[in-house]
């Protein structure tokens, strides 16, 4: 039922973000990343966004220069996973303001944070669109407070 991993791949095949929700060895991770990069980058635009890979399903979607990839159980709902990806992109869009690849490179911790608010241990846990944004903005505030304290100290 849960998502097994989330990967963000650039069109050049660079990993921009990766999150593994299942205990996986480093070797296995690099192998899957490598194989998926080859498979996904070689797929044409009109092709199906869901593909079977080993005993799991891969769901991916391209936004500008980035591929958002998720691995899910073979029995899970692929189409909905596509919408989870879309939700994630929407949220980033709101928080970064018209998000682009560079935003994710420089603001990687924020990108991770948004993802963590949306999905925990592979389970989608927030269905309200405002809640994530609220949480992340709170986080920003907290950091600013922190900065402030450092300056004062």
């Amino acid at each position: 039922m849960p998502v097994q991993f989330t990967l963000l791949l650039s069109r050049q095949g660079k990993v921009r973000l990766s999150k593994w929700y299942r205990a996986t060895s480093q070797k296995e991770k690099s192998k899957i990343t490598r194989e998926l990069t080859t498979i996904i980058l070689s797929r044409r635009a009109k092709m199906c966004n869901i593909l079977e890979y080993k005993d799991i399903k891969i769901v991916y979607r391209r936004y500008a220069s980035l591929f958002f990839v998720m691995g899910i159980d073979a029995s899970d709902n692929g189409l909905l996973t596509l919408e989870i990806i879309h939700r994630y992109v929407e949220q980033m869009d709101k928080l970064f303001g018209n998000v682009c690849e560079l935003d994710i490179i420089f603001g990687f911790s924020k990108a991770y944070y948004i993802l963590d608010e949306l999905i925990l241990d592979g389970y989608v846990m927030e269905s309200s669109k405002r809640e994530v944004i609220k949480k992340v903005s709170q986080q920003d505030e907290l950091e600013n407070m922190d900065e402030f304290e450092t300056v004062m100290a």
């Binding site: 603001g107 925990l120 241990d121 269905s127 405002r130």
Partner: protein, 972 residues
Amino acid sequence: MAPQMKGLTQFIMDLRAAQDAAEERKRINVEVSNIRAKFATSLTSYQKKKYVCKLIYIYLLGLSEEVRFGLDQAYDLLSSSNYLEKQLGYLLVSLLLNRTGITPLNFVQELIERTQTHLIRDLRVDSDDINILALLFIASNFNFPAVGHQKTVIITNTDPTAEFWQELIPLVYGLCVSPTSTNLVKKKASVALLALLRLCPSVLITNDNWIPRLLSLIDDTDISLILSAVPLASLLTEFKPSYAKAIMPSVAQRLYSLVVDATCPSDEFYYDTPSPWLVIKLLQLTEHYFVKTGSSDSLDATTVQSIRLVVSRSIQNALVPRLAQTSRNTHSAILFQAVSILTYLDASPDALSGAVKALVQLIDSQETNTRYLALDTLIKLVARSEAKIPFVEHLEKIFTSLHNKDISVRRKTIDLLYIVCDEMSYTQIVNHLLDYYPSSETSLRASISVKIALIAERFATDSTWYVSSMLRLLSISGSTANPNVRIDGVLEGEVWERVAQVIVNNEDLTIKACKYIVNILRKSSGAPEGDSLMKVSAFVLGEFGYKLAEQSNSENEQFGINSQFQILYDSYFTSSLLTRPLILSAFLKFINRFPKADFVPDIMDLLEVETLSLDLEIQNRASEFLKIATFLVSSNYEDVSFAKSLLLPLPPFENKENKLLRQLGSLALVNRSTSSFKRTLVGSPAPNGPDNSENFDEKSNPFFEDEAPKPLPLTPNWYGGYHRMLQYDAGIFYEDQLVKLTYKIQRSGYAYTISFTIINNAARNSGATISAFTVSDISTDNKGEYIVNLTKTPDLTITDRSSMEFEARICDIVENKCGPVISISYKCSGSFNSLRLKIPISLLKGLSGTTMASIDDFKKRWVQIGTLLGVEEGELSGLLCAPHRYNCAFLASTLQRIGFAIVQKTPDNPGENIMITGAGILKTLKSNYGVLISLRSTDLDAKAFQLTVRATGAGLSAIMFGLVQEILSLQN
């Protein structure tokens, strides 16, 4: 990450500006040694953060080994009081942990040892943010593959780290259920708890009172909280399947309000769909329940009806044309999920064909994703459905997607064609696939040929059709695909083996097959044929060619043995090295049958040449065969009979298992995951459908080996209601400050209905509403003496009152006090409450008075029982003391109320001895019994009684005695 962290931004920019990998690597090395040096000195909070961020960035670039030294620093950060430092600490620890070269178990043990104190401290702190950090860390680091996965890690009670877990888990549980936790904390806690319970399932055994409280999370009003708690609920019901049924009414109700009423807070809408994530998760939960139980029979009618409506609304929703892609996607996603439970709802043929129509319509969709998933869902639907769904009218449409641009769609289409195939359509499907084969992708071919072979074998009624289609398959497939090469995990070679087996095992096929082979091979006249075809040809002609030859005459010489030989001989050198040995065997068999034929010298020559072959197998065969052949043609009788003994005809294949079935790939998965997969495939044992009920048993759960969970205590004050129900057919069953249960019993023979009215007492006192009212369990220690079912479930939310109904049937003699215990849980103004009450299922409810003409009649029966069963079995008599004085009228009316007819009683005069006799008939499903009772006071105060019961069932008198004693509260 603070935007002001200049060093970090600079570092990232440097790396991006790097010309090549070497330069980038150099910059990183400089930075790593810089950080190493800095960590040795004392740093300010800002610096610590900056360097940790840089480490994380380097880690993200894939250089995990270089940054490992930062781990100690990371642990230091955990104990920081600064929120941000702590956050980075947790992040860094989870990134830098080394998972390679260590077993998962050791990894977990090490991790808990190092982080335990931090986690416990952070969970205890009264700060949501810090609690959440610890919970997030738990949820994302202690997660191991789900139950059933081979790599599952389990912490047992004897594990060296066991006490850490035992301290940690209750804390997380506490955050889940505490009324003071915010929903945000509860959400994270429920996912963290899920990960922990997977690791230490034993905690649930000792704390099974947690389960109802945790399950009540899914009755919450916060959609996001439910969403986070559903995975936990699904794990808990897996542990304790009895709870699965209890949550279904609530799940169904929620689905109904989300899908049919489309009500949900505006924030939770995803475009125009109310929380699709939750809808799908709940549908999956429902599907899970159905797959386990196999049907919806066990659920009450209202719940099933709601689910039905949800499914049909989902289908309607998906068929509405929509402009926005997101909205189309979500509706289709819900449709696909909903359809997969359709077959469990005893759907009518109309409903099924409606669903099929909707899905087939989606195959035409512009979007590849939708097409693909529509095909996928159709496969699931057909595989699970017991009723036959006619697909003939849709076949043409399905065929068109064989030509879709996307290979995944094509692959799914082939799977679908395989699964929808039936007696009506198999010729059409096989012919279409055969036509399609040459234009298909190489990687699809193996799968197509396996499927054609399976379909043909399963449905073919016409043997000629079977042979011709299969040989056609082999002739087109063999020439292109390299046999014995794995394509897609399928051994192409096995198809011809299966065909050969079928031909050997069906005598009426042999001659037809030979004829057909000769015709095909003649047509191609020497041109290279498919390897598989050549193999079958060599085998079949060698084995059965003589039969065809015996039939042939001058008119159809082409079937003669000379001609057969010529065909094989011509293709020998064009065949592959793997096929040649088979042709050699065929030749040897020819010599065996026709030692005087003209072609024998040719074969001898060939064998002699091949003894020099470079291929070991061929060389080996050639030299052995040459020897045998020389024996066969020799005139020595002994040599000939020896050689013939080596060449006996092939016995039929005994192994009925079809290897091809193992190669169905993902289709086989569909079969396995659905318990009600009723289609038996050729030669394979029937899938174990009916005994799946056993799987729905705690015994099969690996975590509950022999440790039976100890029963929970009953709610205090349960006995009053129990005792009341024993003798009265209506009254108050239970009452406390919050809730009151009254009951009413309606008897009909051996069955009776108990209707409860649940009254919200809290409403009167404080105006509070009772929510999440669930009957979570009816536990019995019953060996089939009685059956109790919940026939009407109560409302989840009770503002004033609600009702529920049980139906009880007495099947056989029921021992006293073994009635079922019902577990009820509910929430009231923030607190969680549970009740465990015992319901008496007593024989008395099946007792009805029988009028006797006179006391003489009674005496006659009394003696009858005595002589038939003997006093040992038929009677129980004892002296009892009453707590206070009873008068005769009271005793008589009590006996009447519980079901006896009074035969005779003494007049109610104080100072006289009391004597009452009564009679009744006891009805159970199995049989009816007569019961006679006599109650006689032994002193003038009427406080000591002699009670005697005689009954026509063995052991029954003792039970009746006990019941009367309990009701009158008499003591020995």
